[in-house]
């Protein structure tokens, strides 16, 4: 089905790009801001800083007391948060329609005037919180550091995507108040930001409210950070082996994919689905169902804006089988896809699954707003929300074969293996 969400855009005189997409089915508005700063903009010795900075955005600003951003908006019926990723930082809330003005006022205050409230106490406290986040999500759980291992294996040292958004403990310790000030000055400004409103608001009311609350933020003309040069697939296999207390041996097979918002990227995404995204996927059928070499297979593709993206296949080795057997089967399937395109039956499954996934994602105004902000900020394409599914459905079997041949081959794979020590086995 063709999608036809109304999407209107306007740029304020200070450079803020505003997108309004009305949807009056529910009496709420999704407020979603994307700022073009992420871990790829971090300086040497300051990994993790963009994310630490995001935490400070909840600690008060010129007219908002410490902790008040969360407490006041939640008391008005908002659900809110923020996340940091390689290319960007997003800040978002879904608010009852009657709290839209308050949400915009509070967002404008911190996006314009954060530095009035930042102090050493806040920085030290949130640094501790972020270090506990790192311990919880990375250091103290099985496979927790697999993603940072994969980034470092796929991208060359010094590349903007080489290090993870969580950063290192030493670099987090090194962050200073002066870093906060210079980071804000370098990246936080209307012309580096997109504001999307999706939900129970009219186009004109949305633009008026954006102008009322954000129009007074100063115009700061700074050249945008130039995109990094495109990166071709790896030219030789890379391998990382870890011996850790994990419950199963796990193999990640990771690749450099083409940059997001390209036909090749969509073809790679579908190729990854065809390999490992579903119960009819080739790897699921073979290594999970038929040969039982693996307990699970999974896949992810992270579309990125810096001329290269990241894709990975993962599998947990089943008891009684080996990493080598599993890898060999995975490599055979990669080569097979490069040799012959998916069947019509496989294409039907891919298209039906993609349709459901896209419709399900856009069922939520928050996810729709987030998608619109992403493609407005990073690809200048606010209406991609309406054409994304069509473009996915237009990918041909031959495009998938070609994408697999160019991007998803054993010879350009980074393999990261987590092998279990015996201690976990004995304990269980």
């Amino acid at each position: 089905m063709p999608l036809d969400y109304q999407v209107e855009t306007r740029t304020l005189p200070n450079g803020l790009r505003v997108v309004v997409s009305p949807d009056h089915n529910v009496p709420t508005v999704a407020v979603n801001l994307w700022v073009a700063v992420g871990s790829r903009h971090e300086a040497v010795g300051r990994t993790g800083f963009a994310h630490l900075f995001e935490h400070l955005m909840f600690q008060g600003s010129r007219n908002v007391a410490e902790g008040e951003h969360f407490s006041r908006l939640q008391a008005a019926g908002a659900r809110l948060n923020a996340t940091t990723w390689f290319d960007r930082t997003n800040y978002f809330e879904v608010v009852p329609t009657g709290a839209l003005d308050l949400a915009l006022w509070m967002e404008a205050d911190r996006h314009g005037f954060l530095l009035d409230a930042v102090n050493q106490g806040n920085l030290d406290n949130q640094r501790d919180v972020v270090k506990e986040e790192k311990r919880q999500r990375y250091d103290n759980r099985p496979y927790g550091n697999a993603l940072p291992d994969i980034y470092a294996a796929v991208f060359p040292e010094g590349h903007p995507y080489y290090h993870s958004t969580i950063g290192s403990m030493d670099d987090l310790d090194a962050g200073s108040l002066e870093d906060v000030r210079s980071f804000f000055a370098a990246h936080y400004r209307p012309s580096n930001t997109v504001l999307t409103l999706c939900g129970d608001v009219s186009v004109e009311a949305g633009f008026d409210a954006a102008a009322t609350y954000f129009g007074g933020l100063p115009t700061l003309d700074r050249p945008p950070v130039p995109p990094s040069a495109p990166l071709d697939p790896l030219t030789a296999p890379v391998r990382v082996e870890r011996l850790e207390e994990v419950p199963s041996d796990r193999v990640y097979t990771a690749f450099r994919l083409p940059g997001d918002r390209t036909e090749d990227y969509l073809a790679c995404e579908l190729a990854m689905d065809l390999l490992a995204g579903m119960a009819t996927s080739r790897l699921y059928r073979r290594v999970v169902r038929r040969e039982r070499l693996a307990d699970h297979v999974f896949r992810s593709a992270f579309g990125l804006a810096g001329g290269v993206s990241l894709g990975m296949l993962g599998a947990d080795v089943a008891q009684g089988h080996s990493v080598a057997e599993l890898e060999s089967a995975v490599h055979e399937e990669l080569r097979a896809l490069a040799a012959s395109p998916p069947t019509e039956e496989e294409m039907q499954v891919l298209r039906a699954g993609a349709t459901r996934d896209v419709l399900q994602a856009f069922a939520s105004t928050q996810e729709r707003a987030d998608f619109i902000s992403q493609y407005t900020l990073l690809h200048d394409d606010p209406t991609y929300v309406n054409t994304h599914l069509e473009e996915l459905l237009a990918v041909t079997p031959e495009q998938i074969r070609q994408a697999a041949a160019r991007y998803l081959q054993p010879d350009n794979a980074a393999t990261v293996v987590y092998r279990r020590t015996d201690s976990v086995k004995d304990e269980a």
């Binding site: 089905m1 089915n25 529910v26 009496p27 709420t28 909840f58 007219n63 969360f70 407490s71 939640q74 008391a75 008005a76 019926g77 908002a78 659900r79 879904v94 009852p96 329609t97 009657g98 709290a99 003005d101 006022w105 005037f113 406290n125 501790d128 919180v129 972020v130 506990e132 311990r135 919880q136 250091d139 103290n140 759980r141 099985p142 009322t212 007074g216 933020l217 207390e245 419950p247 199963s248 119960a279 009819t280 169902r289 039982r292 307990d295 699970h296 089943a318 008891q319 039956e345 039907q348 499954v349 039906a352 699954g353 459901r356 419709l359 399900q360 069922a363 105004t365 976990v424 269980a428």
Partner: protein, 448 residues
């Protein structure tokens, strides 16, 4: 910017949970259809109340294996063919068993509702349980158990049910079974269990999406309406849910080399049908452990920086419930963090301020339209309530009760449950930190 006054919030219009169109299928199964405009992916849930006590004691986890293999081959199709039929129509099918029952859930674009219903009927009525598929899912579950033991959060949850519930209660053991019981499950067990228990007798069907209720009824009646009863299900016995009787208890699971300690603290809580109504409990959950400004995180996160964040809340289930607070803290502050957590929770007996009351009531009440904005959220809530024998009017009623809630009501609700014996589980480096926790004197401490 600074010249703009902080805007006032306009109060939202009164909101109630979406009203279903309720009908009855030809086989007597109740159907509830929630028309949700703009929701182009429908959520179908088939709910079968089925307490986990119906499983044979030496096959615990059987209902879970049945739920995972009903779609792995039928009399008409092999497992692989069935997967092709589902995915060829863009249907995502999942099924799971909780302590209270079995739920089959399908997500599908509204235009493909009919094939989804036909396939739901096929896996409910004629699953084949091929040996190789059952043994594969058994092996996967055995592997999952190892993963659950290795992850600090799930390890703490497993140890907590063991420490909190009486060993006679099914709730003291994982719903999906343990290594010994899962390893004993075979295809014949699945066939017998399915024949005896997976019946329409107590089932309900819930469907939400941008749908015409009359057309949906016709389609469901022609499919799930033909699912026939095989007569009375065997009687079941066994204790589902019974806490141990004793004082405060601490279990420290030694996980060598942990850089954090996972904390799970809990005690008895109310069922949804509690005297005085459910309304105070989601508000208490929010105020105690539902945000960075809540009582626990205000101290442990925003003041001390000991944690990325704690969650806490009441979890009703059937005739009983629990209160649980959980999170992880830096290893070397394990004992001070436990002490502070204890003090924060004790301090709640002193009551809440009028500002806290208002913020909690407004948060719970005013986030409801957004929380239930999507078809799957509506169907999930309706299905969860159906397993508890309740209709979705329950949500509308407690949201309406919020308006009359006073600080005294909150204090009384907390007082009623806050003095129950506490069970604390810690997963971390016991060699380094157990002595300091023991010295706090917060109950008998056992290291496992």
């Amino acid at each position: 910017m600074t010249s703009i006054e902080r805007p006032q919030v306009r109060p939202p219009a009164p909101w109630s949970f979406p009203e279903p169109v309720d009908t009855t299928l030809r086989n007597g199964v109740p159907l509830s259809v929630f028309h949700r405009p703009g929701q182009h992916v429908a959520s179908i849930q088939v709910v079968i109340p089925l307490p986990a006590t119906v499983e044979p004691a030496d096959r615990e986890g059987l209902a879970t294996i049945v739920s995972r293999t009903m779609d792995e081959g039928t009399r008409s199709h092999t497992a692989d063919e069935f997967a092709g039929l589902l995915e060829g129509s863009g249907i995502a099918l999942g099924a799971s068993q909780t302590l209270l029952g079995l739920t089959v859930q399908l997500e599908v674009a509204t235009g493909a509702l009919r094939p989804a219903l036909e396939l739901a009927l096929e896996c409910l009525t004629e699953p084949a349980f091929p040996e190789e598929e059952v043994s594969r899912h058994v092996a996967q579950r055995l592997s999952d158990i190892e993963h659950e033991l290795a992850d600090p959060g799930s390890r703490a949850a497993l140890e907590w049910i063991d420490a909190y519930y009486d060993p006679s209660a099914r709730a003291s053991r994982p719903v999906a079974g343990r290594t010994a019981t899962v390893g004993a499950i075979g295809a014949a067990d699945c066939r017998d269990f399915h024949a005896a228990h997976v019946t329409p007798d107590a089932a309900r069907v819930v469907i939400a999406g941008d749908l015409d209720a009359a057309q949906v009824h016709t389609a469901v009646d022609a499919t799930l309406g033909t699912w026939s009863s095989k007569g009375a299900a065997p009687a079941t016995s066994g204790v589902l849910d019974l806490p141990r009787t004793r004082g405060d208890r601490v279990v420290f699971v030694h996980r060598p080399g942990s850089v954090q300690t996972q904390v799970q603290l809990g005690w008895a809580g109310p069922p949804r049908r509690v005297d005085g109504g459910w309304a105070p409990y989601p508000v208490l959950g929010y105020l105690v452990g539902g945000s960075p400004g809540a009582r626990i995180d205000r101290v442990l996160r925003e003041d001390k920086g000991y944690t990325y964040g704690f969650g806490a809340g009441f979890r009703p289930r059937g005739a009983s419930g629990t209160f649980v607070a959980g999170g992880s803290v830096r290893g070397d502050v394990t004992a001070p963090a436990v002490e502070l957590l204890w003090e924060v929770l004790d301090g709640i007996a002193d009551g809440f301020t009028p500002e806290e009351l208002r913020s909690g009531v407004d948060y719970v009440g005013m986030t409801a339209p957004g929380r239930y904005a999507t078809a799957d959220a509506v169907a999930d809530e309706a299905a969860a309530l159906a397993l508890d024998g309740l209709q979705t009017g329950f949500v509308t009623d407690y949201l309406s009760d919020l308006r009359r809630l006073s600080a005294d009501d909150l204090a009384q609700a907390w007082a009623r449950w806050g003095s129950e014996p506490r069970t604390l589980v810690l997963v971390g480096d016991a060699e380094a930190h157990a002595d300091a926790v023991r010295a706090l004197g917060r109950g008998d401490l056992t290291v496992v």
